[in-house]
Amino acid sequence: MTAAPGMRDLAHRLLTYEAGAGRTSEPMEFATLRVYEKLRQSLSAFAGVAAFESLAFRALTQAKSEAPGLSAARVTADGSLQGLGEFDPQVGIDKNQTGEDGVILLARLLNLLLIFLGETLTLRLVRDVWPETAFDDRNSKDGRNA
């Protein structure tokens, strides 16, 4: 089972937004980490570090089954994400896949929020972190306001 399409789309848009906020030459995992870190800060304050860490661990476990490139990634006790972009040589993942891996991980995390809180509250929490982003515009391609 994969994340709900809406959450995958949302993850993609957040990733695109954060990628646009960084340097064009930086690896895609930097944008993934920025999105993840912003969610971690916000959700840890809201629900507690332990609650976020549990959700993130579960999301990563689910994502690994879909994205072998995340095999080296791990969630630490404070909920931080480590090992993203590190690859197990035996797995041999193409580095170009990292953007897609990030989408999968973030979509899984958002999907867990969706399951527990429902769409309205999930979108409100996300909007609180990225108030400048137009999430209501489902047709937006780049996820940023003009």
């Binding site: 840890s44 809201f46 507690g48 570090v49 332990a50 609650a51 809180l117 309205t120 509250l121 409100r124």
Partner: protein
């Protein structure tokens, strides 16, 4: 002091149907309140109702969660209530988890964290759920009473109306110094009475205004907590002056013995052993009222409603109609149109 010299204490709606009447019109603004009770007694739901009724973007609420139920699970369940308005999150209502501070530090650090958040948000309402779970370390720098004292002073100066939620058992009510700090103390109980669970709410103290004393029944439905004042509340008043009218039983000899019937407004106990005609007498009284153009209500506890209505209709030649208040428990009777 004359009325015009006194400070005006604004009253905030509790958001709990029936509770405003019990507390004399609403909760005093800037008051420091404790909601106490056993697990599952409705403390968090009551606090949520107050928060959702009062929080606005200009006057936001801060809801601190400590150990125990995670905010995610709490919101998962609380959003099932009809009063829950997701549009209020996070601009009007912000949830902040303090479990890490509690686990790693002491009460002083918890107070510091609350202070920081309050200074940032300038909230009108603050809830700490549950403050009892903060007392974990015996070597804590501040004891709970001191913590609450300082928290109370701080939040009052920030013009916040505050609720502390705590799990307390019945026997902890007496001589507990924590409760002396509070302006308002609300005790929620759920007790077993034979096979039923009865929920009761008591306003043990409320500074600044009168409240209806005693135990008030409440229930928790899809709409949250709903309280039923033991009396008609402080605002309740008689519609009309006491009546001297007598109401007939429809039994001339009995009416004669009673000086014309039962005095209007009286409560009458009809007692007797099984089969002596208690229900028949009561039904005749209702039927006579119908005949006089005065509808009545019969609450039936030990018989199926339909059977009662049919028997009453046969006995009194009047049409008893079930109007069904809350399922099986309400009965109304109407005059036979036939």
């Amino acid at each position: 002091m004359s009325t015009q010299d006194k400070v005006t204490i604004n009253k905030l709606p509790t958001g709990v149907p029936g509770l405003d009447e019990i507390v004399g019109g609403g909760l005093p603004e800037f008051s420091f309140n404790i909601i106490a009770g056993a697990p599952g007694s409705g403390k968090t739901t009551l606090a949520h109702q107050f928060v959702f009724a009062n929080a606005t973007p200009e006057h936001p609420a801060l809801y601190f969660t400590v150990l125990g139920e995670s905010a995610i699970k709490m919101l998962r369940y609380q959003q099932q209530y009809t009063f829950f308005d997701p549009a209020k999150l996070p601009d009007s209502i912000r949830f902040i988890n303090l479990s890490q501070v509690v686990l790693e530090k002491d009460l002083g650090a918890v107070l510091e964290e609350i202070t920081k958040e309050v200074e940032n948000a300038n909230p009108a309402v603050v809830v700490v759920d549950s403050f009892r779970t903060m007392v974990r370390k015996p070597e804590s720098d501040m004891d709970l009473q001191s913590f609450i004292q300082r928290l109370s002073l701080f939040l009052a100066s920030w013009q916040a109306t505050t609720f502390l939620i705590g799990e307390y058992a019945e026997d902890e009510l007496r001589d507990n110094p924590i409760f002396t700090v509070a302006d308002g103390l609300f005790w929620l109980r759920q007790t077993a009475e034979r096979n039923s669970i009865v929920r009761k709410l008591q306003v043990i103290k409320l500074r600044g205004q009168a409240s209806v004393p005693g135990l008030h029944t409440f229930r928790i439905t899809d709409a949250g907590v709903q309280a039923f004042s033991r009396t008609f509340g402080l605002k309740g008043h008689l519609k009309d002056p006491p009546s001297h009218r007598r109401l007939s039983f429809g039994i001339p000899e009995l009416d004669k013995m009673l000086g014309g019937g039962v005095r209007e407004g009286d409560s009458v106990l009809v007692a007797g052993s099984s089969g002596t005609g208690k229900s028949v007498l009561a039904t005749q009284f209702i039927a006579e009222g119908i005949r006089q153009g005065e509808p009545g209500i019969v609450a039936v506890f030990e018989e199926r409603p339909q059977a009662y209505a049919e028997r009453a209709t046969r006995a009194c030649s009047h049409y008893f109609v079930i109007i069904g208040v809350n399922g099986d428990h309400g009965r109304a009777v109407q005059k036979d149109q036939g």
